[in-house]
Amino acid sequence: MTNQAPLLQITNLHAQVANGGQKILNGLNLTVNAGEIHAIMGPNGSGKSTLSKVLAGHPSIEVTAGEVLYKGQNLLELEPNERATAGVFLAFQYPIELPGVNNTTFLRMAYNGKQKANDLPELDEAGFAEFLKTKLPLVEMKDDYLHRCVNAGFSGGEKKRNEILQMAVLNPCLSILDETDSGLDIDALRIVANGVNQLMSADKAILLVTHYQRLLDYIEPTFVHVLANGQIVTSGDKSLALELEAKGYDWLLPHPQQAEVAV
């Protein structure tokens, strides 16, 4: 695809719950190039959300070993806000409600923060309002969302659409969508997937963390990886996802008792 350095390169990543908690990632390796969409699948508790948190720099997870390079730069050294301004975006599985924080103010603050960090011109209120108007149709959102507080009182679907709107505004190089399909009805799923597809381009990459195949009907992955016990246990193309849908995860996981029977 490209001869440049990978957009994201994860090598032998070990991570645990902060302050000596449970070990979750046990030597994970993953390379993501520009233009690729990677689906990370796996059973509950396999470490999918932990991987998302590590990439975004969530303080609840502690990296104990390994390396994460983003555009050749050590991502783990960056503060969470620096990662964001550098172009890493996490769409949260459970977007938090921020009562009292106006949606537009918040979006503009984030947008201008990124512009400023990259020595690009910032937008004033009027200019940003114009800019925002062009992004709303992407997630089929009405104007009135903008006057509300961030996610406060939003339905599950509205929250996820709001995440994708933020993605549209911030235009990240690497987007991590953590279970973005969970809690969505079929219409909302279609809207969210459309938005994501339109935001994808050859110089960007997406990491789709998902439990189910159905999102992949809408967003076609370049690769599918199965995460189990904190490692990628198998990888393949989109057909792997269909196989998982049919057979479940069990056949990929070690089962000592069954092994004995087989012997």
Partner: protein, 465 residues
């Protein structure tokens, strides 16, 4: 009456008011050595306590208030629950500052004037009564001493009654020491077109005893914004009292904006409101003061059917500021509604106390009373105290109160940071978010909509400081 379970171990020395001997203040026993504070207080009260004929109605009010003060004495922290958490040392550990006799022009920028695009109706500078601001269309305040005779009698009777019932010694002390009382008498069916803006400013070490007596006749309406501020490097004691009565169907919006940049400021505020049938009293108190002590005591009596009171307070306390909001709200008639929301953001070594009581008398059937106190602590040495009390003697009531104490939600901070916003900025944003919904209520008052933005700016400046 005291209401302690077990007094907590005192870490700071307790002020012992017993040393203020009433007899010595009256001059009966001058052999007792008075503290400098007591001596200065005595010097001011002495002339008022002299009995004699030919006192003007105003002087009669002052003497009565001085006598009432002598009866009440200074509060005892150990015995009076309301004063338990209030350290009066900043006030009583030194003599009272002198009353400035001449008017030093205030250099403070009139931010409100600019923000609200409203002329300042009244300026009280260093405690001086600007006598030249007498009756005119633009300034509807009239000094009590300049009221026509019939009205003087009316006002005197009303205020004398209030003095006799008053239990807060500082409230009556302010009335005793005030040179005059501003009166606002809004006639029936009259709506004051523009909000009245009052400045209480200190530009030098001084005392101020601003007193307001507001009488709203039937269906009258008005909005008053009082801004209290002072410049740095001065010492001030401000004892203010607004006495308010609202007749049937009247509405009064009263906004306090306290923002002293000086630290050595003690401000004790009293609001006393009587709300009759169908009248609405809305109080909004914003405090972003650096002053060492601020107490706002609010007594509101709902005495007519369907009377309504809304009391909102926002406090941003930093440094060593100590802020105390004390509410006594009485439902003494049927079908009245009240709502109280007090929010406090407490940082550094600051202290915030909310002491709010709702009383529902046997007359208060169908009461609907809500009270909420929310506190956010920003630092290790910040403290929050709350006593949300209900005393209910009627059975058909809906009363609820809630208190929360918490801190910034780190998950929320992370969400903002993950979008590229610097952690410090994210914290400020969320701190402001904690109070912004309440500030938005200012937007519902005609003429002062811009106050919300002004307050937000003020908070932002203070947080960034």
């Amino acid at each position: 009456m005291t209401m302690t379970l077990t007094p907590p171990a005192e870490t700071t020395p307790v002020y012992e008011p017993s040393s203020l001997d009433v007899a010595s203040l009256l001059g009966a026993n001058l052999t007792t050595v008075l503290s400098p504070f007591e001596a200065s207080l005595e010097a001011m009260l002495q002339p008022l306590l002299v009995t004699g004929a030919n006192k003007s109605p105003l002087q009669q009010l002052q003497s009565q208030a001085a006598e009432r003060f002598m009866t009440l004495g200074l509060p005892n922290r150990k015995q009076q629950e309301a004063w338990k958490f209030i350290d009066l040392k900043p006030l009583v550990s030194k003599p009272l500052p002198a009353v400035q006799s001449h008017l030093e022009p205030c250099r403070l920028p009139y931010r409100l004037e600019k923000a609200l695009k409203l002329p300042v109706t009244l300026t009280v500078c260093n405690g001086n009564f600007p006598k030249n601001q007498s009756p005119q269309a633009a300034a509807p305040w009239v000094l009590f001493s300049q009221l026509e005779e019939a009205k003087q009698a009316d006002f005197q009777q009303w205020l004398a009654g209030k003095t006799a019932q008053e239990v807060d010694p500082f409230c009556v002390l302010g009335r005793a020491l005030a040179e005059d009382i501003w009166t606002l008498d809004v006639p029936a069916n009259t709506a004051l077109e523009k909000p009245l803006v009052i400045y209480v400013n200190q530009s030098q070490t001084s005392m101020a005893f601003p007193q307001w007596a507001v009488r709203m006749a039937e269906n009258a309406s008005a909005t008053v914004v009082v801004s209290c501020s002072s410049e740095s490097q001065l010492q001030a004691y401000i004892q203010a009292c607004a006495t308010v009565t609202l007749a049937k169907g009247a509405t009064l919006n009263w906004v306090y904006l306290v923002n002293h940049t000086a630290e050595n400021v003690v401000q004790l505020l009293n609001t006393r409101a009587t709300v009759h049938e169908n009248a609405h009293f809305n109080l909004f108190a914003v405090n972003a003061s650096n002053g060492t002590l601020l107490r706002h005591s609010m007594d509101v009596d709902l005495v007519g059917q369907e009377a309504n009171a809304t009391l909102n307070g926002i406090t941003l306390a930093t440094g060593k500021t100590s802020v105390h909001n004390h509410v006594r709200l009485t439902h003494d008639a049927e079908n009245c509604q009240s709502s109280q929301i007090f929010k406090a953001v407490v940082g550094d070594e600051a202290k915030s106390e909310f002491d709010g009581s709702i009383f529902v008398t046997t007359n208060g059937q169908q009461t609907d009373a809500k009270q909420l106190s929310k506190n956010m602590l920003l630092s290790n040495k910040a403290k929050a105290f709350a006593r949300p009390w209900l005393k209910i003697d009627a059975d058909d009531v809906k009363c609820s109160h809630g208190t929360t104490v918490g801190q910034l939600d780190e998950q929320q901070v992370f969400y903002l940071v993950s979008r590229g916003i610097a952690p410090e900025e994210a914290r400020h944003m969320l701190t402001l978010a904690f109070v912004v919904d309440l500030l938005s209520q200012l937007e519902n008052v005609t003429g002062i909509e811009a106050l919300k933005t002004e307050c937000l700016t003020l908070f932002q400046e203070k947080l960034a400081h």
